[in-house]
């Protein structure tokens, strides 16, 4: 029997209705564990579908320098997001990145820089301070609005519509995704991502 697209859709919807009581956009809990099965904190997950636009030029964010640390240390943003780097320390900082995804330099400053830095290319940006070698921060720039960072229990919650996705997961500080997988979200509330 050859199913038409519609038929197929109707079937899916029926299935969803039967199983998920027909909820279209739902919270999905992502659980990242390492090779030993332990939850990973500050792991970054990003779910990609083909429909949703990759870039959001209006998005904005900020990473505060406080106590000679980047806060948060790991930040995930959609491509096109502009991030400001307010300095809440009394000392000045010289924030820089030599990462190919975004090279920039905020030469010695204090307070809130005038212009936020736009991150318009997906990739991992490693942040440093030329003054304080110990300061390290990471910005994961992803081409999707569906992203999250795991809490100290290795959990992250995303609002995902049912559909087909490809997800990527980075361990904190790593340039390359530790896991990349296609998955289908339909009435599913939890995705387990074991890092090998």
């Amino acid at each position: 029997m050859a199913w038409t697209t519609f038929q197929r859709r109707c079937f899916v919807a029926l299935l969803l209705a039967l199983t998920c009581h027909g909820i279209m956009a739902a919270d999905v809990t992502v659980m990242v564990t390492d090779a030993g099965g332990k939850p990973v904190t500050d792991a970054v997950v990003a779910f990609y579908d083909s429909k949703t636009p990759a870039v959001n030029a209006n998005a904005a964010g900020k990473i505060i320098q406080k106590n000679k640390m980047f806060n948060p240390k790991v930040t995930v943003v959609q491509t096109g997001t502009s991030i400001n780097f307010p300095n809440e320390d009394t000392v000045r900082h010289h924030v820089y990145s030599f990462s190919p995804a975004k090279k920039f330099e905020l030469k010695l400053y204090s307070g809130v820089p005038t212009n936020p830095v736009p991150f318009d290319q997906a990739g991992v940006v490693t942040l440093g301070c030329n003054i304080h070698d110990s300061m390290v921060g990471y910005i994961y720039v992803v081409d999707t609005p569906f992203f999250a960072k795991t809490d100290d229990k290795g959990k992250a919650i995303l609002k995902l519509n049912d559909g087909q996705y490809t997800y990527q997961a980075w361990l904190p500080g790593q340039n390359k995704p530790a896991a990349e997988q296609k998955t289908t979200i339909e009435g599913v509330t939890e995705v387990k991502i074991p890092i090998p």
Binding site: Y96, F98, T126, L127, G128, C129, N130, D133, S134, M135, V136, G173
Partner: protein, 814 residues
């Protein structure tokens, strides 16, 4: 144990041994400690050196690392690295390499995709083992490696943006600059040796000289193989301590650093110290040896001196006094030896005095006299001169001593000695007391005439009574003279011969006799006779002779005197004066007396049988008078022969009474109590006190024949006889005259009232068997008046030698 000739050596040896032992006991551990200390110092130096070396390397590393970190932290360099700007990176490394004087500099990215080096970095990296390991495990740490067969110290520093994105590696060659820097700080020789794939152990750099470092190379290779890190080794006659540290090790490669410290500098000082100690010890030993030698010499020298002195004393030198120079023990010893020497001297002088002097008279004794004569002979031997030895004897000294006391006798002897000394002819002459009453005089350079003149003088002196202790006493002397060389050529012969002559003088009652050989024969004969005498009694060689005795008034025979004769089987007839004196001396006289008494009793018994009332007189000797058994024996004899006591008469001399007067008196009194008739024989020759005689129960006096024989010619004798007879009669004693040789004398005696008589005129001593013949003839003659001439011839004839031993049984007991 070693034997030493001297105490000195023993002391020195003992103490030196102790000193040397003590010094050795100190020096040997000292030497050991010094060597140990030197080694410890050397080890310490190595230890310190190693620590210094390590900290030097750490410091170097640190400064190099810091220098390298400057580059790694440079923002522009980091930017160049982050943007993979290889050209910029290379130029930056180049300029930096020059700045910090590194031989190698390169950058290697984290993912090893980018390698930029100042030299052929890729080639270098190829030769580096496990570069990743280097980077990961030794970031910023001390790291040595061998690159292109050359050793380097590598400094690796991360480049952070802000995470580590790559590494800068700086290489510094291990060369003489490093070794000399280390040596400067550690004062140790430093050697780097390496082994590579291609080459065996080889020297990289060393501060030690070539020879030594080459020697070291082999040793180190060995030690490394044995995995020893600390070692002491002898190289070039020196001890070195080695500390080996591996700076880089792979199975094929090795880079070692050897810190090498010589013990020599430490031992040098310590050896010097030891040598000084040794020299001080030797000096100490020498000083000690000298001291010991000196002290022991000081100690033993006086002992050696004392030994010499003792030797002197042993040799007989008692005169030299021992010098006492010290107050210590040796001094005491010397003092003790001195007093010993003194005592020995005194004793020897005393012994000498005793040996050569007569204590009593102060004259020389026999020994000294013998020596004197000997000496005189040896001096006279050359001079052809004569000398004379005169022996003088005091008659009847013993009774004098006994009756008048020993003190008196001693004084008398002293007096006689004085007299003899007074009349010697020269100072060299010698007077000695030989025996109790015997003196000897040595007259030098004297012939017979001089000697006899001296004898005469002595004789004359003693004709006068001698006054001793206020008492006058008559001293009679016998003198014998012997002349050198006529009568003997040695002292013994001279003295013997003089004594022989003296005996002759006594026997013959001559004032003196000069020795002649005729005397000698007599003398020697008596000696053999003595031994035969005992046998004579047993073998009946003795004969009883009887000399008749008459009543002078009636001229009738009254009996006789029993006399003894010895018919020797070889020598024929022997007269009693030849053996009685010796029989007296040897005690045989008692047997003879017993024999005489027995025989006399037999004869008397015979007379009794014949109806003859005759008596026999038997002479008693001194010994007999001391024999308390004698009265009992006689009583037994008389009774066994059935005789009356008065038949047996006993004659005793004054001298025999004097020997032991109390005992003799006791015996005599017993005999008298038995009723025996006792007569004093030889009256007038002795010195009996009449008072004493009066006490004795004596009935008869026999006047000695020396007074009677010549009384017809000598009126002096006649008056002595007369007064003796008167005296005896006054005392109530009978008088018997001996030695009547002619009728004139017989008639004289008859006129003087003498009771009985005997003599050649009446009858010579005759064998008993002849007595009856004589008796018959005498009795008949007296009745018919036989002519006297016949009688005379009978009387004069009897003895061949015409001598007159008419009264031979004389017991002159002195």
């Amino acid at each position: 144990m070693i034997k030493f000739k001297h105490i000195r050596s023993r002391i020195a040896f003992t103490f030196l041994t102790v000193v040397v032992a003590i010094q050795l006991a100190g020096l040997i551990p000292l030497k050991y400690a010094l060597v140990k200390h030197a080694n410890t110092l050397a080890e310490d130096q190595i230890d310190v050196g190693q620590r210094v070396f390590v900290s030097l390397l750490q410091h170097n590393t640190q400064s190099l690392k810091q220098a390298t970190q400057v580059l790694a932290a440079d923002f522009a360099f980091r930017e160049a690295v982050a943007t993979n700007d290889a050209e910029t990176i290379e130029s930056a490394l180049e300029s930096y390499q020059g700045r910090i004087r590194a031989q190698i500099a390169f950058y290697i990215s984290n993912d090893e995709n980018l390698v930029v080096g100042t030299s052929d970095a890729k080639a270098i990296l190829k030769s580096l083992d496990a570069r990743q390991a280097i980077i990961q495990s030794n970031a910023g740490k001390l790291q040595f490696d061998i690159v292109d067969d050359k050793p380097y110290q590598l400094i690796t520093v991360p480049v952070k943006a802000p995470e580590t994105i790559g590494w800068i590696v700086m290489g510094f060659a291990v060369d003489s600059q490093l070794t000399s820097q280390i040596k400067q700080l550690t004062h140790l020789d430093v050697t780097f040796v390496q082994k590579t794939n291609a080459k065996d152990w080889q020297l990289v750099s060393s501060t030690a000289d070539k020879t030594l470092s080459n020697l070291l190379l082999k040793t180190v290779a060995d030690l490394y193989r044995q995995r020893l890190t600390l070692h002491s080794v002898d190289l070039n006659d020196q001890t070195y301590h080695l500390k080996i540290r591996a700076l880089h090790e792979t199975p094929d490669e090795a880079l070692l650093v050897v810190l090498q410290g010589s013990v020599a500098p430490f031992t040098q000082d310590l050896n010097m110290l030891f040598k000084v100690m040794l020299v001080l010890t030797l000096i100490g030993v020498v000083i000690f040896a000298v001291l010991i030698w000196y002290v022991s010499r000081k100690t033993t020298e006086p002992i050696a001196e004392l030994v010499k002195d003792a030797d002197k004393i042993a040799m007989g030198d008692y005169e030299t006094e021992i010098q006492v120079s010290s107050t210590d023990e040796v001094g005491y010893l010397a003092k003790a030896m001195n007093s010993m020497r003194e005592a020995v001297l005194q004793r020897s002088l005393r012994i000498q005095r005793l040996a050569f002097n007569d204590e009593l008279t102060g004259l020389s004794n026999r020994l000294a006299f013998n020596q004197g004569v000997h000496q005189a002979i040896s001096t006279h031997a050359d001079s052809q001169q004569k000398l004379s030895v005169i022996v003088i004897n005091i008659h009847r000294f013993k009774p004098i001593n006994q009756t008048l006391g020993r003190d008196f006798g001693d004084d008398l002897l002293r007096h006689v000695g004085q007299v003899l000394k007074q009349y010697v002819l020269s100072e060299q002459d010698m007077v000695a007391r030989l025996d109790a009453d015997e003196f000897a005089v040595l007259l030098q350079h004297t012939d017979q005439a001089k000697a006899t003149r001296y004898a005469d003088k002595i004789q004359q002196v003693f004709e006068q009574p001698v006054s001793v202790q206020g008492q006058a006493i008559d001293v009679r002397t016998g003198i014998g003279i012997a002349l050198y060389p006529d009568h003997g050529v040695d002292e013994e012969a001279l003295l013997n011969h003089a004594e022989t002559a003296l005996q002759e003088s006594r026997a013959k009652k001559s004032p003196w006799i000069v020795y002649n050989t005729a005397l000698e024969i007599d003398q020697s004969e008596t000696l053999t006779l003595i031994s035969d005498l005992k046998q004579a009694i047993q073998h009946d060689q003795l004969l009883l002779y009887i000399q008749p005795k008459i009543d002078i008034t009636t001229r009738r025979a009254v009996g006789g005197e029993a006399l003894i004769r010895w018919v020797h089987p070889e020598k024929g007839m022997i007269f009693p004066d030849q053996f009685i004196p010796f029989a007296e001396q040897t005690g045989v006289i008692s047997d003879i007396t017993n024999w005489m008494l027995l025989r006399a009793c037999q004869v008397l018994a015979d007379f009794q049988k014949q109806g003859l009332r005759l008596s026999l007189a038997v002479n008693l000797s001194t010994r007999d008078l001391n024999n308390m058994q004698l009265p009992a024996q006689i009583a037994h004899l008389l009774s066994s022969h059935g005789l009356e006591a008065k038949a047996l008469k006993l004659e005793i001399t004054e001298g025999s009474l004097m020997q032991d007067p109390e005992r003799a008196e006791l015996v005599v009194k017993k005999l008298a109590a038995m009723g025996l008739h006792l007569a004093i024989d030889d009256f007038g020759t002795g010195y009996s006190s009449l008072a004493y005689l009066r006490q004795l129960p004596v009935q008869e006096l026999k006047i000695d024949r020396s007074f009677v024989m010549f009384m017809d010619k000598n009126s002096g004798d006649a008056s002595i006889v007369k007064s003796t007879i008167d005296l005896a009669h006054n005392l109530g004693l009978m008088v018997v005259a001996e030695g009547i040789e002619n009728e004139y004398v017989l008639n004289q005696l008859a006129r003087l009232g003498c009771n009985e008589g005997q003599g050649y005129f009446i009858g010579k001593p005759m064998p008993e068997k002849d007595f009856s013949i004589w008796l018959q003839r005498w009795e008949g003659q007296n009745e018919i008046e036989i002519d006297i001439g016949d009688d005379l011839s009978f009387a004069i004839n009897p003895l061949e030698d015409n001598q007159q031993p008419s009264d031979p049984f004389k017991l002159d007991n002195i």
